[in-house]
Each structure stands twice: as C-alpha cells, then as structure tokens.
Amino acid sequence: MPPAVERAADIAGLLAIAVCITVVVHRAATAPLPPPPRAATAAERTSFAAEARRREGDWRVKAANDFPADQWSQRDAFHGHEAQFVRDLARGSGVSYEEVLGAIDADIHRNRGSDRNAEVVPCKPRPVFD
C-alpha cells in the first residue's frame, strides 16, 4: 500500500474507534433512569413492617424443614422468602425496595430483643451448589 493510503486508512481507523468509544460512553452516561418510585407514607411503612413480622414465623418453619440442622442455610432460605415478599410488596405498592427494607429494619430496631433473626448465623455456604 502506498504510504498515503496507509495514512488515510489509519486516520479512518482511528476515527472509527473514537466514534465507537464516544457513542458508547455517551449512551451509557446518559441512559435514563425510570422515574423514582414515590416515597411510602408513615402508615404504609408501619403496614409493611407489620406484614413482614406476621409472615416471618412461616418463613422460619419452611426454612427449618428445607434445611434441618443447617443454621446458615435456614437463615439464607428465610431471607429468600423475605426477598420475594419485599419485591412483591414494593412492586404492588409502587415504592422502592429500599422503602420496604427500611421499614422492616426500623421495626426490628424499635422492637429490640424480639425473635426477629437480628443475631448472626455466620456465613457457611453449602459445599454443593449444583
């Protein structure tokens, strides 16, 4: 290739790289977020917490049956049920997950000492994942 053609090819290549990077970075940086969910009212937060408190017993029993004598797995299964509950409740109420989780956390802190799994079962992943 003649040097002039090589130079032109290089310029074209560099331009193409610059355009790709610019476009990708710009699109990523300006990608819109959905409108923020509304804030929960105080009454809703109380209700979220009460509903979670009411269901926790069932989650504990299910977890104990699924993982007898395995404390961490029981706790993890409990949290799995809780996560599904939080997702459903937040979506159904049009509020953020943070609102529901914050309400549950505040309730646990307010009613300290109750049986709310506020103590820790140390992380002990199951050795078989599949």
Partner: protein, 767 residues
C-alpha cells in the same frame, strides 16, 4: 490487501470497536439499571461500596462495612476494584460502568486473541476473523446475564499467554505483558479462575519452550521462570491479602459434576437460551458449528498438533466426573485445585486454544484446490462462516442480556451507618441506604462474629461486663475510620458492631478481637479514640507489587539496550531484579505487626464444634459402635434423634480418620425403612429411603482433612416428612464421591449390625 489492512493496528482496533459496540448497543439504554440476579447483590455491592468509599468519604476502599458485618475489601476474592476499570466506576458510577467495562474488555480480548494467534498463524486476516469468536463466546453472555462481570477478566487470558510465548522467545516485554495481565485479572476478581489460568499458562510455556531451538532452551526456561515469578509478585497486592483470607477460611467445594460429550457439544454449538429465568448448559460456551468445522479443517495442519493436544486436555477436564478416568477428579486432589467448581469452564480454555487450528484453516484454505479462484472462493465461504458465527454470538448476547430482571437502586441514605439484619438477596438495597446487611453469602466462609446484631441502638458500646463504666459516643464515621468520645470511670472494653480483622488500629488502648468483633481495651478517663483500618497485608502486598513493576521496567529497559535478559552478561542482574520483590515480601511479612487470622474453625452446620475434646471422648452421648472399614476410618459411635415435630431427624456420627484417605472420600448415609419384617411397600406419596451422603463435614472440611486420630462429631439433619410408617435404620459406609466405585468393605463390625458393608448407627420409628 485484506491481510495488509488486518495487520494495521488502527483498522484492526476499529473492527473490534465496531464489534464491541454492536455487542452492547441494545443494552446501553439500560445502563443505569441494576441487574437483580441474585449474585449481583454481593458482587455489585462490592464495586458500589468501593466507589462510594472513594467518592463520598475520600478514602481508599480498604474496608467494606456494608456486607456481612464488615470485611477487608482487598482481601476478599471477589472484589474487582483493584483494576483500571475502577476509573470507569468513579467517572460514571458503578451501574453505568458495568456495560463500559464489558465494551472495553471485549475490545481488549479481541486484540489479545489476535496478537496471540499471530504468534503462530501467518495470515493476519485469518487471525482477525477468528479472534472475536473467543472474545464473544457464549460464556460472556452467561456472565453478563448473571452479573458475573468479573468473568470478563478472562479476556486477559490471551494476553497472559502472549506474554509467556514472547518470554519463551526471550523477549523481555513478554514478562511485562504476562505479569500485568495476570495481576489485572486478579485485581478484577479473577482469583478463583487463577488455578485454571495456571494450567493454561504451564501448557503454553511447555509448547513455547518446545518451539525454541535446542541451544536456546535453557535461556528460555530462565525467562519463563522469571515470568512466573513476576506474575506472582506483581499480583502480590492481591495475592497476599486474599491468600491469608483463603488460608483462614478455605473455599470448600464438593459434588461430582460431569458432562457427556453431547452436553459439551451443545454448550459449544447450540445457541444460548434462557430456561426458568436462568441460563443452562446449552449454548453457554457458544462458538458455533462453523467454528468447530474450522477447527476440524485446521487439524490437517501438522503445526496444529500441539494446540489440539491442549484442546483435548481441556475438553477432558471439562467433562468433569462424567469421563472415566476423570482428569478433573485427579486435579482436585491437588490442594490449590480442590476448590475448582465448574469443570465445564475448561471449555473456555479449549475454545481459546482451538482458535489456532481454526485460524490455520482460514489461513490455509488450500484443501479444495490449488487455483487462485478456489482459494479466494474457499476463503470467502469460510470467512463468511466465521462472520456469521460472530453475528450470532452478538445476537445471543443481546437476547440474553435484554432478558435480565432489572431494578433500580434508590439512594436513600440514613444519617448514621448501622448494621441491619439485612438480606443477601437484596443487599445492594441496604448499601444504597448507607446501612450494612448482616445477611451474608460468599463462596468461602467469610469470618462473621456471632456477636454481631442487627437491632442495636448504637453501633459502638461498652462490653456487657462494663456497662456501668461510662459512655461511648460516636463523633465521626467513615468506612475505614471511626471516631469515638469515651468517658470511663474504670478501664473497660468498647465493642464495635463490626467484624474484627487483622489491620484495625486505635489511637488509644489496644485493639483486640472480642469473639470476632472489633474491640478496644481502654484505660479510665475522658478520651477521644480513633479506630482505623490499614492492614499490613495490603501495605506489604502493595510494596511488593510496586517494586516488581519497577524491576520489570528495569529488565525491559535493559533488554532493549543490551539484548537478551539471560545472556551470560545479563543473567545476574536479571535474576537479582526478580529476587528483589521476594526479599521485600519476606521483610514485609516478617515485620508485620498485625495479628494473624486464627486457623479455620471446624464446625457442623448446626454451629456445634466438629471436633470432640480428647477429655470428653470417653463420655460420648451416643451408642458405641466401633466399626472399621477398609478405608482407614472408624465409626466410633452414632446417635439418631427425632424426628421432631417438624419431621426433622438429627444424626450424629462419631468417627476417626486413622490414615490417609483420598479427598474424594464420601460418607454414604442411608436412612432406610426396615423391610425384613414383612412391612408393605411405602404407600403412594410416601418414601422408604432417604439419602444423606456427604463429602464435607458441616460445610467446613473434607473428611480427608479430619485431623488424624481425632474424634470427629459429624452432625447433620434429614427432613423425613414423607417417611412411610415403620421401623427405620440409619446406615453408614464410605466410598468414592461419585458413588460409582463401590463401598469400602467393613473389616471389623465392632458392636454394629452390618448390612451390605454398611454399619447401622441408629434406629427410629415412624408411627
């Protein structure tokens, strides 16, 4: 013409940039959203916390207080902020940085593959067309779907191999390329992939060595040894802290995963599909049938033999336990490889090495005829096949990525940091509130104090025995630094509701671990105390990394001026440059004042100790058995309790390892309804057999790692709500984890009833 254009860096990178743009194009509108796949909630939280710590508090992300009660962030194997991609997060935020990371890594991966292929494939255009197939393979789509962004660090593997071959060719720049690529990969959370990469690196080194003239092999070998040394020392910022973590809390993996040839072929040749909200094996390493055809075509070239042998080794490994003899099982006997999890991931390396014969097929294209028309025609057909494969890979990535469950992280900061009960399945949504999630999951046993609580009125408080000694008030908080004002009428211990780790210091008093909680013993008086985290493992590791980079720069610089690094005149200096980082490491380690982690705890899943005190061995609350097996194991006693009102049975086996047993040794536990007294078969919906086999005691240690001659108490549960009425027995024996190699013979029944080489350890009745 195409060859010349392909070999021009600018045009080649433009081609790769276009492909990378196509890869992410349809996902860019969702760049600000959160992938809600379960693993994201800890993996992404790590990255988000690191970025927040720098942006919000102006601190290095050394300590992460937002998950599991706090941990050393540099020492966690799955944090990925110790790589250049952190800059993207700082500039654009953690969410938006993810897709940019994918974009840049895809480009880097393609260029790395091109350069590595070109070491052995003469035709640039062939390398150009084949390089993207590895860099866009189905596993990257799987990784993106599951939020395993750290898997994109695998794009650096061709660079590691490139450096190794260059080093074998006695080019000093190879040392720099391999070392920096490997360190970046580890910094990008590639820690668990490192053993796999080590195998690929060794195989690459061997074949690169074999390619060298006989007279130069000694110098090549020294270059390779130097490369290996620098790969370790440049990574020391990461290796040292993570190494200490994994020694104190090993990652334990059990099971016998295996794949038939048909399943492996489906992973490579079928398109990736989602099933039940997740990816499966099909298409998970998609490179397409055309690529496999090219590999077959390229096999006719004798120069492909070594690459194909390596491909065969990796496919054999990928088959896991399904192929006998199992190379994967053999590999897992080696301690560093014991924690390898998914054998199929070796397909990744298989496709990488298979790219070479595929590129040779494109480069040669002479087999259908010798004329120019034939050659051009064949090249066009094969090239079109490669391009079609690339298109399908991009399409598969887009299809899978756009089906992720997406959420939004809402910043809703609380005034003060505190620990919450939390939830590992939603952990990011706690971090976004500036609070910690004690609900915790990691693939290793992340150290968590049992004194942590998610309901405290204050996160820093006086120890229970000093509650009347005064008061503690938090005056300032940031992830690495906690300032307190303490009024004490007498010496007392202040507790912080976070996990202790080596590296916590205080301006007054002495920092200690209080049953795993950060604690500081203070004298009486009114005082301001500052606690801060700065582990010596990170400082020492950072020093070794820095010195190593300087040493490599010196070797490369000298190499450019004076030629080979291991010529007779250069070898002493080169060897010295390679040794200096190790000297720094030794001095840093020896002079580290930090406490060390305690040895791993051996516990059952119930939390009870798994080792019986020697003094208690004569008073076991269980039925004596004393059965011996051909494997050097002795079941001393057994106890079966329950079932309780939840239909849960608790089984305790007291056993002793009396000699070496393979890591694959498993305890077979059969909970079986007695059938010898004419009981009818179990009615519909009921069971007369339950299995509780396990290779690992309580998830904390392999049977093979049970201390020699110490009595182990293995406690586990079985849910028997579907058990049919009748008398039930619990039987125990041992054998290979796959269950396919029979049972260990009972050599001495002791006091036990034996049936089919199983000792009965207990009985219960279902009424």
């Amino acid at each position: 013409m195409i060859s010349r254009l392909s070999s021009r860096l600018s045009l080649r990178l433009a081609f790769f940039a276009l492909l990378a743009t196509a890869l992410v194009w349809h996902i860019l509108p969702d760049a600000a959203r959160l992938n809600e796949f379960r693993d994201v909630h800890h993996l992404f939280l790590y990255e988000r916390s690191a970025i927040d710590t720098i942006r919000r508090y102006g601190e290095l992300p050394l300590w992460n207080p937002y998950y599991c009660g706090g941990f050393d962030a540099v020492a966690a194997p799955q944090t990925r902020f110790l790589s250049p991609t952190l800059l993207l997060g700082l500039l654009f935020g953690a969410e938006r940085a993810e897709i940019l990371t994918v974009f840049f890594f895809a480009m880097i991966g393609m260029e790395g593959m091109y350069r590595w292929l070109r070491l052995r494939v003469d035709e640039p255009a062939a390398a150009l067309l084949i390089a993207p197939i590895f860099a866009l393979s189905g596993q990257y789509a799987v990784a993106y779907f599951r939020g395993w962004i750290q898997f994109f660090g695998f794009q650096l593997v061709p660079w590691i191999l490139l450096g190794i071959t260059l080093a074998a060719r006695r080019k000093p720049i190879g040392i720099a390329i391999s070392s920096v690529a490997f360190a970046t990969m580890l910094g990008f959370a590639g820690f668990f992939a490192a053993p796999m990469i080590a195998i690929a690196a060794v195989l690459e080194a061997l074949r690169a060595l074999a390619e060298q003239p006989r007279g130069a092999r000694g110098r090549s070998l020294m270059m390779l040894a130097t490369t290996a040394s620098f790969m370790l020392t440049v990574s020391m910022l990461r290796l040292w802290p993570v190494g200490e973590t994994l020694i104190s809390a090993p990652r334990i993996m059990a099971g016998t995963p295996g794949f038939t040839p048909r399943a492996l072929l489906s992973a490579l040749a079928d398109l990736l599909v989602l099933k039940d909200g997740n990816t499966g094996m099909q298409g998970s390493f998609y490179v397409g049938a055309a690529f496999l055809g090219l590999v077959a075509l390229g096999a006719h070239d004798r120069r492909s033999v070594r690459a194909l042998v390596i491909v065969a080794i990796f496919v054999w490994l990928a088959a896991g336990y399904a192929r006998q003899p199992s190379l994967f099982a053999l590999l897992r006997e080696v301690p560093v490889f014991a924690a390898l999890r998914y054998p199929e991931r070796f397909l990744w390396l298989a496709t990488l090495f298979a790219s070479e014969p595929a590129a040779r097929a494109l480069a040669g294209a002479p087999i259908l005829g010798g004329g120019r028309t034939w050659r051009v025609g064949v090249w066009l057909v094969l090239g079109a096949a490669a391009l079609t494969t690339i298109g399908r890979q991009v399409r598969a990535f887009e299809r899978v990525a756009t089906q992720r469950e997406l959420g939004v992280v809402t910043e809703q900061r609380s005034d003060d940091f505190h620990q919450a009960r939390g939830n590992r399945w939603l952990a990011v949504h706690f971090q976004s509130q500036g609070i910690g999630s004690l609900g915790c999951y990691e693939t290793h046993r992340l150290a968590q104090s049992t004194l942590l609580r998610g309901d405290l009125p204050a996160e820093e408080y006086l120890a229970p025995n000093a509650i009347d000694a005064g008061s503690v008030t938090r005056t300032s908080w940031s992830p690495n630094r906690i300032k307190l004002h303490v009024e004490l009428s007498r010496p007392a211990r202040v507790l912080v509701n976070q996990n202790w780790a080596p590296g916590w210091h205080a301006t007054a008093g002495t920092v200690v671990s209080n049953e795993g909680l950060i604690a500081v013993d203070l004298p009486a008086g009114s005082q301001d105390v500052e606690l801060w985290f700065m582990p010596r493992s990170t400082l020492g590791g950072g020093a070794v990394t820095t010195v190593s980079l300087l040493a490599i720069a010196f070797i490369v610089w000298r190499g450019r001026r004076r030629g080979e690094s291991f010529s007779s005149r250069q070898r002493s200096l080169t060897a010295l440059a390679a040794l200096v980082p190790w000297l720094v490491a030794g001095v840093a380690y020896a002079s580290s004042p930090d406490d060390r982690w305690p040895p791993p705890r051996m516990t059952n899943a119930s939390g009870s100790p798994a080792l019986v005190d020697v003094s208690s061995e004569s008073q076991l609350p269980a039925t004596p058995i004393g059965a011996r097996y051909a494997l050097p194991l002795r079941v001393e006693a057994g106890r079966v309790s329950g079932p309780d009102d939840r239909s849960n049975l608790t089984i305790e086996i007291y056993l002793r390892r009396q000699g070496h047993i393979p890591r694959s040794t498993t305890m077979f536990v059969h909970v079986e309804r007695r059938g010898d007294d004419g009981q009818p078969a179990a009615p519909k919906g009921k069971e007369d057999f339950f299995n509780a086999d396990h290779q690992v005691v309580g998830g904390s240690f392999y049977l093979s790692d049970a201390p020699l001659d110490r009595l182990v108490r293995d406690e586990f549960g079985v849910h028997v709500d579907k058990a049919a009425q009748g008398v039930w027995d619990v039987w125990v024996t041992f054998g290979h984890v796959s269950g396919t190699q029979g049972r260990s013979r009972v050599t001495d029944p002791g006091g036990a009833t034996i049936s089919a080489d199983r000792a009965r350890v207990g009985t219960f009745v279902i009424r």
